[in-house]
Each structure stands twice: as C-alpha cells, then as structure tokens.
C-alpha cells in the first residue's frame, strides 16, 4: 500500500530555497556519463601514445644534445636522423607517422570533442521531448540549463588543458632544436591555452546550434563547418594581426625563430619583385648557377647581385601574448554562446 506522508507545512514551502547546485551537478554528470567516458578514452589513447613516444624520443634526443661540438659532421647527421625519425614527413610510412603527422591529427580533437559533447546537450532533450520533464521540475529551467552547460564545459577545459601539458612535454625536442616555431599554426593550436580554448569554443557553438536546430546530428555538422572556417581564418587572417609583425632583412631568418607570415625580394634599386619577376630572373641565370647542385645557388647569386630578401615575422617571444589574446577572444565567444543558449532555453516554448 502507498503510505501517506505528511504534507510539507505551507510555511516551509513558502520559504523557498533553490535546489542546490550540487544536486544539479549530479544530474548533469549522470546525464553525460557516456560523453565523459568517450572523452576520457579518446584523450587517454592519445595520451598513452604521446607518453610512450616521448620516452622513446627522449633517449634519442639526449644523444643529439650530448654530441659535441654541435657543428661536427657526426653531430649534424645525428640531429638530421633524429628529425627524420621522429618529426617525419618523408620516407617510409613509419617515419611519416612522426610528430608532424601526429600534431596534424591532434588539431582535429578540439572540434570533435566539442561537437560530440556540446551538440546533444539541448538537442537531445528537444528531440526526445524530455525537455518537458526537465523544465517542469522544481529546480526550474534556468538553473537546470546553467548546470547542464557549465559543468561539462569546465570538465572539458580541464581535461584538454591537462592534455596540452602532456603534449608540450612530448613536443619539447622539436621546439628546442628550432625544427618548429611555437608560433606556427600547427604548434600554436596545440600549445599554451589554445587547445583548451578551441575545444571550449567548439563545445559552446555545438550546444548553441543544438538548441537552435533542435537536432543533434545537424548541429554537429554545422559546428564542424563553422569551426573549420573559423580556425582557418584565425590561422591565416586573424592571428597575424594580434601584433604588427617584425620586418627583417636577410636570407637566413636572422630575427631568430618565429612565424614567417610574408616574404618578398627587393631589387638593388629598391623595387619589390613580383613572383613573375623572380621566375623570369631564375630562367635567365648563368648556366653555372642553373645547373648547380646546391639548393642555395640561386639565393647566393641574388645576394651577390645586390638583391635582398625581406620577411615579416611574428617572433617566438610573442607566444604567450598571442596565446592569451586568442584564448581571450575564444573564451569570450564561448561565454556569449553559452549565455545565449541559456537565454534560448528561458524563452523557448514547448
């Protein structure tokens, strides 16, 4: 039999204390159990791989750094072999699976994690009709929405932040020997705060789009398209303008390591050569230069004849300023998207 329980006194019911956040957090976590496991597995698999590779790499890299003098042929060969084996990009399939390939793959993680974690949050409730349950409980839909959106965002940011730390440890040798500038898009997106910030942005965009479109899969698809467009725009058009680039003269990156965002050749009379000018110049070189086996023959010839190379560079010293700029606007955009999602939930009718 159903036991009759004494009704809560009316006075107590009127003294209304909202449902505690800890309770709402439990609900948000329980609902995301699958996503939490999925994210952990994905990041975990890559983390184990990076860990193993970092350990293997470290002993090979120790040999490179221990070699003295560094300019000796033996040491040069050692350094080249290290680069070939672990940075990769050429040679056998095993070698091309080096850090270059791995980093390119890892750049896809933020959008995948963000889209899969963010899109279903509201879209699944709207698709399945369970929002009619969730939004009519005593907690109210605003608190429910805040807990649903903010807790996974915090967890995702923490997890991807920790992953970045591991990735940095794995990636150190390539930064240290000047193989890669940390300002290059490939490295920049995986270091500092960028990796976590882009993941958070993808998550917030997916949650917002899921609320607007009311469907999980289209929300994921649109998120991925928007993300790729914005990430490309950031790397090619937005990021170079965080600060005016440094202009340096010379052929050999004399400004030190950095991200070269543009380069041009000036003729002895100070005229800037177009691509066409350069091409016609290279066709009319003396045979001794044209047939030279040295790859530097053309640039040597240009230097000898008074031509100068100019480059606009974002030096490595600007890394953290750039990271914080990018992290800052991504965080602001994510906050706006999450607030917008809560706003949509508040005003949405059944």
């Amino acid at each position: 039999m159903i036991s009759s329980v004494p009704a809560v006194p009316a006075a107590a019911a009127r003294r209304r204390r909202p449902v505690p956040w800890t309770q709402l957090a439990w609900v948000a976590l329980r609902q995301r159990r699958g996503a939490v496991i999925g994210t952990s597995v994905l990041l975990g698999v890559f983390a184990v791989y990076l860990l193993i590779m970092a350990i293997i790499q470290d002993s090979a890299y120790a040999a490179v750094t221990a070699c003295h003098p560094a300019a000796a042929l033996k040491c040069q060969q050692l350094a080249q072999a290290f680069s070939r084996n672990y940075w990769g990009g050429s040679g056998s399939a095993v070698q091309s699976g080096g850090a270059q390939t791995v980093s390119s793959l890892l750049l896809a993680i933020p959008v995948l994690l963000g889209a899969f974690a963010g899109a279903p949050l509201l879209a699944r409730e709207l698709e399945s009709g369970t929002f009619r349950f969730a939004w009519t409980q005593g907690a109210g839909r605003t608190r429910w929405a805040v807990a649903t959106l903010v807790l996974p965002a915090a967890l995702l940011t923490a997890a991807t932040g920790a992953f970045t730390a591991l990735f940095y440890w794995y990636f150190r040798p390539f930064l240290a020997d000047g193989q890669v500038s940390e300002m290059l898009p490939l490295a920049f997106g995986l270091l500092g705060v960028a990796f976590a910030a882009w993941t958070l942005f993808a998550y917030a965009a997916a949650a917002f789009l899921g609320t607007v479109l009311r469907r999980t899969v289209p929300a994921m698809a649109v998120t991925i398209v928007v993300y790729i467009a914005l990430a490309l725009a950031a790397a090619t058009a937005i990021r170079p303008h965080y600060e005016t680039p440094v202009t340096v003269a010379g052929w050999n990156g004399s400004a030190g390591a950095g991200w070269v965002t543009g380069s041009w050749v000036k003729a002895p009379d100070g005229r800037v050569l177009s691509q066409g000018d350069l091409a016609s110049l290279s066709r009319h070189l003396p045979a001794s230069v044209q047939n030279s086996p040295s790859p530097d023959a053309f640039t040597n010839w240009l230097t000898q004849h008074g031509y100068t190379l100019w480059q606009s560079v974002q030096p490595d010293s600007r890394f953290w300023r750039f990271q914080l700029t990018e992290g800052g606007w991504l965080l602001a955009a994510s906050a706006v998207l999450i607030a917008g999602t809560v706003w949509l939930v508040r005003r949405r009718g059944a």
Partner: protein, 247 residues
Amino acid sequence: MNVIETSLLGKRYRRTWALRDCTLGIPGGHIVALVGPNGAGKTTLLTLAVGLTRPTAGTVTVLGGEPAGSPEALDRIAFVAQDAPLYRNLPAADMLRVARNLNRRWDQRYAAARLERLGIPARQKVGELSGGQKAQLALTIALARRPALLVLDEPLASLDPVARDDFLASVVEAAEGEGISVVLSSHVLAELERVATYLVVLARGEVRVAGPVRGLLASHGAGLEEIALRYLRAGAPSSSRTEGAPS
C-alpha cells in the same frame, strides 16, 4: 483557491490560434477532465499552465495566484507530458535520483516503495519498460514530488485497458488519499467519466463548457458524454459556459 485560473488566455503558433480567449477558474480539490477533439488546444492550455509555454495574450496563474512557470509554481506542480517523456537510457532507479536532485521536495521512501509495489525493477532501463510501466514510473516521480497540483497530458493514450485502469486507480488514490488536485486531458471522455469530478470541454481553441460534474449532470439530466457532445456540436463558446462552483 483556484488551481488554474486564466483570463482571456490565448496562444498563437505562427498564424493559427491554438487557444483563444480562454477564461477559466478551476477550483482545487477536483479531478478535472479536460476533454476535446484532437487539436482542440488541450495540450496548449496545459503547457501554458505548467509554464512550458508563454501566452500570446491574456494571463494564467496557478495555485491561488502564482504566475505559471514561476519557481513557486514549479515547486508545487507536477506535470507529466504526453507519452511520459523520461530519459530512456537511465535505469529506473537513476531516473528517480535525477528527479530527486531536480527538486527541493522529494519523498524517496514513497517513490522506492511504489516502484517495488508496481513490480518495476530498479535496474531496468526506462527505454525497456512497457508503456504501462513507463507511465507508472512517470506518475511515481510526479507524486514523489508531493505536489499540490498534478497535471497529466493524455496519460492514457498509449496504455492498454488494464494499464489504463491501474493508472486511473493510482491517480484517484493519490487525489483522495493526499488531497492533490488533478487535471487530466483526453480526447476520449469515456476514459475519464468514472473518475472526473469537474469537466472542461475545449474545441477549436475555445472553452465550450466548464463546471463540476455533479452540477452539469443535475442541470442537463443527461450522461456526461451526452453533455460534452452537445457542447461540442453547439459550437457557441462563451454563451453556454457555466462557471465552476466550489464543490
């Protein structure tokens, strides 16, 4: 105290009015049958009352003047939407915990005992329950919240006859045993005839008649179904509406 009170309430979806000029005062302590053909505006009226939808026109208050959807209203109204939407991937026990954590008031002992009495296994996933079990689980969650008003939208539509009978018995037991006001909607009055003590007939977004069943039966000298049909056919909305008298 009126559990639902509306004044010239209207809701428009794009161009069509799902509900229009609805003025109602449903007194507490009743089992209210909200009946009307499909598309009459029953779901719209109920979603407005529980605060899921905002009105296009007019006002709706609940439980003696609380604005629909306000924290005070949500706290004391339990709503089960059509087809009893619950999280299919959760085991029944976790579904209870979710509801418990989403509410200030929750009677876990009652909820657990009721599931056990109904023979719903706590570890069974909601998506694997039968239609009747799922409806009962949703009702259990609603009742464990200790509401003052229970709102059920088409609760019987997807149930077989035995499950319907069990479900209605549960509702009556809760209403009588714990003094909960209940509003149920259905497009089949016959389903609710046995239990309803108050009748609201809707058609084409307008209230055709509203009043206590006893009063309607006495004044019309006909069966409830006959009365409802008469108002549905007549089609004259406000002129034939009788105001609900306290029981």
